[in-house]
Every structure is written in structure tokens, then in C-alpha cells.
Symmetry: C2
Subunit: 495 residues, 2 copies
């Protein structure tokens, strides 16, 4: 009996467990009553524990080794490599540590919800310290097995192959270039007349209707996905059941819509993964740098272009029953490309966003290394943000409590946001070169040309190749900061 086919069956079961956890996780953040939190934490911990048992079962290493000697086509070979990678990651962490971490994360996420609302970091601190303690244990265990530092080992879990040694020189360029660039943009925008504000209220139902129209235009498949509401927008769910969320602010229509476009970018990646590999590791999204590149190529590259606002303006006017100069495409475009240092990462413009990531990257690498204690996080956060952007959070709700990632156990995740932004800029430049009618399409709400190029070069490749290979083959160059900096100069200083 050949080992490879039996591995495919086992990994299909793992994919089903992953899908079940995805839907339960989605439910936790959208619909679940508060009193169900403890039971839900048990459910997720048990599912993760069982997946871990299957992935690290006594015969798994033998079957993986045996399959390596079997005749496989290149797709199967890539799939086997991904199976082995998953196994290595899982086998390096004891099962009780996995379950303990899952439970600690569920508890900390629930605490975070109220601690954030009340701006009460002290309430979260013990739960967060427990999550960090377990993340450090996981990083050390994985690092020892994979020959990586603890932080690189955690990072590799989100973005296979990514290393601090790759990130640090790229981030050094951003640290050097961005402050001057942001200042130049601010100076130029200060010399222009201020864009006209959009006066609310904007009813939630109308906002939701526009969001659904934009998702449809972008090519979201509603037979295999949904749009719902959560405190922190995300793209989750399962294969063939991709669920994105947003949150509505009746005073700010652009916020929810740009959020919807962002998550739609993630969703298009999920819905465009190779169907033939849908239950297999090779059919999954490649990693978070590419994933974030797909959200940002839609939200930032495509949908903050002057061309896209020519499509969006009449849609907004008709859907909201508004008119006037503030609803003209040019004004909307200027509103949508306003650059100003602010406190909240998810509200940041694309020029100041990397500063939020540089800060979190510095802080989480220090916490994982044991150089920064949880108790000292609020002070370090506020000081760091002031140094990087010149603004200081007046409280922790607007400071280190704003993101779910740390209580959510997603350590090593933050840098992929900015790596994704750089990748998006590099991909979009390549797409514009390769697809002549791309921008003309966007001006009419036709995402087909862009989506077609992304399907071919990114989505349909799943995990059949490495991130570096996919980027290099799509753009003709390795990942770097140059395309992103060129994009900022072109959009904000040269247009």
C-alpha cells in the first residue's frame, strides 16, 4: 500500500477539522452569546488537540518518509513538502501545550473585549501574560526543532520561509525613508485646499447594500461566502464558506466600505485557491504576506486609485441619496488618500501604516525575547508611537489594547501586514504592465482584468510554490521596498 494516498486522506480530515474550527471561530466573533465562551473555548481546544494528535501520530513521520520514495508528480511532491512542513511545526510542540495555548487565547480574547471597551489594561494583563508565556514556550519548542530563533519559528507558522534576516533590512529602508516621505506628503496636502467632509448619518442598511455591491463587482462568490458584522473585521470561515466581516459607523461611510474591500481581497484569494487541491495543504493560501498583499492590492492599490473613485462616486450618490461637490469622484479620492499620523492602526493611511507595524514588530520581538514585560507594554507602546509618528495615545483603548492579535495568540503576525503592502505595490505595478485595460476596468467597476491576473499568478498557485518564487515569477524581482516607495511618491507627490 502506498503511503502518499493515505496521507492525502489524513490531510483531508485535517482540512475538515480546520474548516470546523474556522466556522466556530467566526461564530465566536459574530453571534455567540457571552455565556457560551467557556464551552466554545473547550470545543476549539479539543478540535486543535485532535488535529495535533493526528498530525503527530506515531506513524505520521514514517508515512511521510515512505512517501518521499514513491513516484509523485510535481503537484504531489509540493503537497508532500507542505504536509512535512505542517508535521514538523506540530511535532515540535507537545499536545498539552497546544491545548493550553488554545484555552488561554480563548480566555484572553473574551477579556480583551471588555478590557478594551473600558480601556483597562490591568484587567487584561494576567491573561495576556499567560498567552505570552505559552507563545514563548511554543516559539522555543518550534525553534529548537526547526533550527530557528523563537520569533522566526513563530513567524514561519504564519509565513513559511519568512525570517527576521529578510525583514530587518527591508524595514530599515522604511525606517529611513518613510518619515521624510510622510512629511513631504503632509506638506503638499497642507498646501492644497482641504477635501470636503461627508456628513452623516449613513444608515447601516445602506452601507451594507453598498458593501454587497462592491463585493459583487470585485467578484466575491456569495454561493460560497457571507458578509457579517464583528468588532474587529476579519476574513474567516472555511473552504467554500469564506466569511468576511466589517463594522459600521453611521458617521463614516468610507470606513466600513474600505474594510469590506480589504476583506474582499482576502476572500478572493481564498475563493480562487486551486480547486483540485481544495482539501490538501498544497491547495491552501501560501502565507500571510501574500494573503495581506491580496487584501491591500484591492483596498489600497486598486480602490484608492483615481480611476476607482470614478466608479464609486455615482454608486455612493445613488445608494445614499446624496449629491453635491463633496460626492464628486475627485473629492472622494482626496478624502481616500489623505495622509495624517493617527493612533489607530486599522484606520491608518497607507503611508503611515508601516510605522504602526514597525512599532509592534519591535515590541513583540522584545516580548518574545524576554526583554519587555507585559506590565511595561503600555508605556513602551505609547513612547514608541510618539517616536515613530509624533502622536501619543491618551489611553490604552486607543493604544496597546486596540488590536486582538496579542491576546489572540497571533505573535509573529504583525510584520506580514507591511510585507503584504510592499508585495501589493510590486504586484500591482506588474499587473498594470501586463494587463493594458486594468485601470480602465476599475473606472467602470470591472475588476475582471485585475482578478484574472491575480487568479493566474497568485490565487491558483495555492501553496504549490514558495512565496519568494510566486512573487518573483509574477513581478520579475524578489520582494523589496522599492515598488512601495515608488507607489507612494507617484500617488502622493507626483500625481
Amino acid at each position: 500500500m502506498r503511503a502518499y494516498p493515505s496521507l492525502e486522506r489524513t490531510f483531508a480530515r485535517l482540512a475538515a477539522l480546520e474548516g470546523a474550527s474556522g466556522i466556530l471561530g467566526w461564530d465566536s466573533q459574530t453571534l455567540m452569546p457571552d455565556g457560551a465562551a467557556e464551552g466554545r473555548a473547550d470545543q476549539l481546544a479539543v478540535l486543535r488537540g485532535l488535529a495535533h494528535e493526528i498530525l503527530t501520530g506515531p506513524e505520521m513521520a514514517d508515512r511521510l518518509a515512505a512517501a518521499r520514495d514513491e513516484a509523485l508528480d510535481p503537484g504531489q511532491r509540493a503537497n508532500l513538502a507542505e504536509m512535512a512542513r505542517s508535521h514538523r511545526h506540530a511535532a515540535s510542540v507537545p499536545g498539552d501545550l497546544v491545548e493550553a495555548s488554545s484555552r488561554a487565547v480563548s480566555k484572553a480574547e473574551m477579556t480583551w473585549r471588555t478590557a478594551r471597551a473600558d480601556s483597562d489594561f490591568a484587567r487584561l494583563a494576567p491573561d495576556l501574560a499567560e498567552v505570552l508565556r505559552l507563545q514563548r514556550e511554543i516559539g522555543q519548542a518550534k525553534g529548537a526543532a526547526l533550527g530557528l530563533s523563537p520569533y522566526d519559528a513563530l513567524l514561519d507558522g504564519y509565513d513559511p520561509g519568512m525570517r527576521r534576516a529578510v525583514i530587518d533590512p527591508i524595514f530599515a529602508v522604511l525606517r529611513a525613508e518613510l518619515p521624510g516621505l510622510v512629511a513631504a506628503i503632509a506638506e503638499r496636502q497642507a498646501q492644497e485646499p482641504a477635501p470636503l467632509p461627508l456628513a452623516g448619518p449613513f444608515p447601516v442598511e445602506a452601507q451594507r447594500g453598498i458593501g454587497l455591491a462592491l463585493m459583487t463587482a470585485a467578484g466575491f462568490d456569495f454561493t460560497r461566502g457571507r458578509l457579517d458584522v464583528s468588532l474587529h473585521p476579519f476574513c474567516g470561515g472555511a473552504t467554500d464558506d469564506v466569511r468576511i466581516t466589517t463594522r459600521y459607523d453611521e458617521s463614516d461611510v468610507m470606513r466600513a466600505l474600505m474594510g469590506v474591500l480589504h476583506e474582499t481581497g482576502h476572500a478572493l484569494y481564498e475563493q480562487g485557491r486551486p480547486a483540485a487541491w481544495r482539501t490538501q495543504p498544497a491547495g491552501q493560501a501560501r502565507g500571510m504576506t501574500l494573503h495581506e498583499s491580496q487584501s491591500l492590492i484591492v483596498e489600497m492599490q486598486a480602490c484608492r486609485s483615481a480611476e476607482f473613485f470614478r466608479y464609486l462616486a455615482p454608486l455612493l450618490r445613488d445608494s445614499l441619496g446624496r449629491s453635491g461637490p463633496e460626492w464628486e469622484a475627485e473629492n472622494l479620492h482626496r478624502l481616500g488618500t489623505r495622509v495624517a499620523p493617527g493612533l489607530i492602526r486599522v484606520d491608518a493611511d497607507e503611508a503611515t501604516y508601516p510605522a504602526h507595524i514597525l512599532l509592534r514588530y519591535d515590541l513583540e520581538t522584545a516580548m518574545i525575547a524576554g526583554d519587555l514585560a507585559v506590565a511595561d507594554l503600555p508605556g513602551a507602546f505609547n513612547e514608541g508611537l510618539h517616536k515613530l509618528l509624533g502622536v501619543t495615545p491618551p489611553n490604552d483603548r486607543l493604544g496597546c489594547l486596540q488590536d486582538i492579535h496579542w491576546p489572540g495568540g497571533a505573535w509573529g503576525y504583525f510584520p506580514t501586514y507591511t510585507l503584504g503592502a510592499l508585495t501589493a505595490a510590486q504586484l500591482f505595478a506588474a499587473a498594470r504592465g501586463a494587463v493594458p485595460d486594468l485601470m480602465a476596468g476599475l473606472a467602470q467597476g470591472d475588476f475582471g482584468p485585475l482578478r484574472g491576473w491575480l487568479r493566474r499568478t497568485i490565487h491558483a498557485r495555492g501553496s504549490l510554490a514558495e512565496t519568494g518564487t510566486i512573487i518573483a515569477e509574477a513581478t520579475g524581482a524578489p520582494l523589496g521596498p522599492e515598488a512601495f516607495l515608488r507607489h507612494l511618491r507617484a500617488r502622493y507627490l507626483e500625481a
Copy 2:
């Protein structure tokens, strides 16, 4: 190391898997996009398969045997007996049969949705035949292991200890008594002036608001549950996350509300189970006869009483902004206690409802025995309904396609509806005798006295005693048809 504590840990994991399946099953019927059906079927099949593996693992029988010789208190002893029962049920069915059945059910349920809408039995027939084939296999395998007929073995899975030998004599009394009783009620109601109809439309949001108010009055805990919408109302979810559904008809306000009250009865049972045993078999609801008794004691015994309509009438008038003689309590009571043979089981009044069950019981026992083929089901259904109630479905949508149970794999479930109705009548008579202010409470929307009695005598007992013991201790008599027949005579012929 003692076996019993390790069994408790294992069964807590099983409870978490059960809860995960409960939420995923709820999602399938409320929110899931159509294209996700195949993936969801995989998820549920894998979860059930894993639970089955755990329950039938090589050391489970040994641990159960070892625990029997350990010092246990009475609660632990009852818990161990339930563990052993679950194990016996599971171990008698091969794992691949469990997974095949789960997949067949998921597929048939999806087909049923469109086949029912289009009244196209032929479309469902192949999927239904496959579900039946696997149910017969399961019944035979369980029956052989438990020393039961295949049908009794399936029945025992829903209602531990229930047997055809118990049901048949009780159902024989109903077969003999009900036709005459229904005719007498119809004759009496025909002599009275017809109740005034309620003219719609009734907006869904207003109906939902009334439903939530009734759930609150009944004591539903919204921190541990939800109300949503599905095609076929049900009570599902997980421990501490009890989710009931209803469906709204803008032309019929009583339909959704009585549905909400019915499912609220189920939910009160789930929310009132013994907290100390929440993750253990002894903490689960005892079986479907008692479960249905809890929905019917709320919907039929309490909420179709003249007293309850004195509370409901002003609530409806205020919530819907209506007035007039048709909205007086007496008219609403007469509308809510109208007896008339009809086609649809879930719309049937309590006097004709048992006929729908007698029919389904006859048909499903014949199908499990191999005496009735799926192809012959529509004809047998229509003929049987005509014989029992004098009405004939004009199409299969209003006939054998109306219920999800058979495509849903719930064979051996139907009789528990009527056994539940008999139990509800017997319990309510006992409650009225034991709690003097029970009816006065209902007249003011105060369910506290009834709920308190049910919590003590039924809910909090979980599975710590047998169904027969629970009923006998609560009512002073074994389960029989007499209290139900007395209730019908008192409400419909003597009031």
C-alpha cells in the same frame, strides 16, 4: 491510576465535539451558503467519526469495566452507566458506517430543501433510499449488539429504554379513543360561533419582538442562547449556547409565536440541566420523550390555557398596535384551541397531532423492517393520512416531504412526539396539584412557579435517573395515555 476520573476527562472531550457539531449543524440550517454544503458534510462526518473513534477506542471497554469496581458515589455511578450505554451504542456500529451515514444525511438534507420546495419526491428518492439503507444497517448492527430489534435499537438511541412493546399498547388506546374524541370536539366547536380571524400582515420584526418577550417571560437565558430563523424550527446548539429557531409568516402571527414557545420549552430543559454535570453524560437531557414533554408542557399545556391568553392578549395588542374583539383573550384562546384535521404535522392541533405520529410510526417501522420501499412511500403516506384523519395531501410537499426527519436520518424519533405529549399532560396535571399558584402565574406571564417545579422534577435530574423513574417520581404514576385523554376532554368538551 483510577479509571473513572480519566473517563470523565474523555467524556468531557466528547461533549466538546458534540457541542462543536451542534453549532455547525445549527449553522447549516440558518446561515450557511449553499456552496458550502459539501465541505460542511465533510466537517460533520469527520467530527462524528472522531467521536466514534474515541468512544470505541481499544481501551474504552477496559476502562469502563475497571471503573465499575471503583468506589463511586450515586451520581458517578449513574454517569458511568450512561458512559457505558453510549459506548455500547457506538461500539456496535463500525466507524465507516457512521461516517457514511453522516455524509448521506448531509446530502439528503440539502436535496430535501429543494425537493420539498418543488414538491419533487423523485428527486429526493435516491438520497432517501441511501439514508434508509444505512439506517437499516445501523439498526441491525445495534440490535444485534443490544439484543433488540433494529427499530427498537434506533429508538433506544433517541429515548433510552423506550421499546415498541411499551409504545404499541399506549398507541392502541389512542387509535381507539382519538377518532371519537376528535369527532365530538369538532361537533361541539361546529355548534359554537366561529372565532374571529386575525387579519395580517404582521411585520416580521414585530413578531420577533413578541417572541423575544415571551422567551424572556418563560425564563430563557439570553446570555446562553439565541433566537434565529430556519426553514424547519428546532432547538440546537451546545451546552451554554442553546439556539432555537422559528419561521415567520406575515399572514399568521400565532404560528411563529407558538413555535417559539415550543422551542423555548426545549431550551428551558437544556438550560436547566445540572450544572455540576455539564460536560458529562449524566448531565445531558434524558431522552426525546422527556424533551418533547418540555416543549409541549410550555406550548400546549401552559400556553394554550385560557389563563395564558389573558396575559398574551394585551401583549399582542400593544406590540402589533391592534385592537378590536378579535384581539380579546377569549377569542385568541378559541383560535388557539381550534381542532381540525389537516395535512401538516407541525401545524396540527393537539387532538389531531397524534394521528400524524401514528401514521409516521407505522410507515417508518415498516420501512426499517423492509416491508415498505421508498418508492411506495408517497402512496402509503397519502392513503394512511386519509384513513386516520380523512384528509389527502394534493402533492408530496404537503405530504411525505413535509418533515426533515427521514432525510435527516432521525428514524425512530417520531413516536417520541406523542409520548412527549402524553408525558406533558401527566406532568402538568401533577404540577397543578403541587403548585397552587401555577395557573394564576401564567395569567400574568409569570412562568416562575411552573419553571421552578420543572427545574426540580425534570431539568436538574439530567440523566441521573431513568425516564420511567423521573416520570413516576414527578407524577406518582407510570407513563400512560389517561392524563392526555383527560386533558383533551377537560379542555375541549367540559370547559
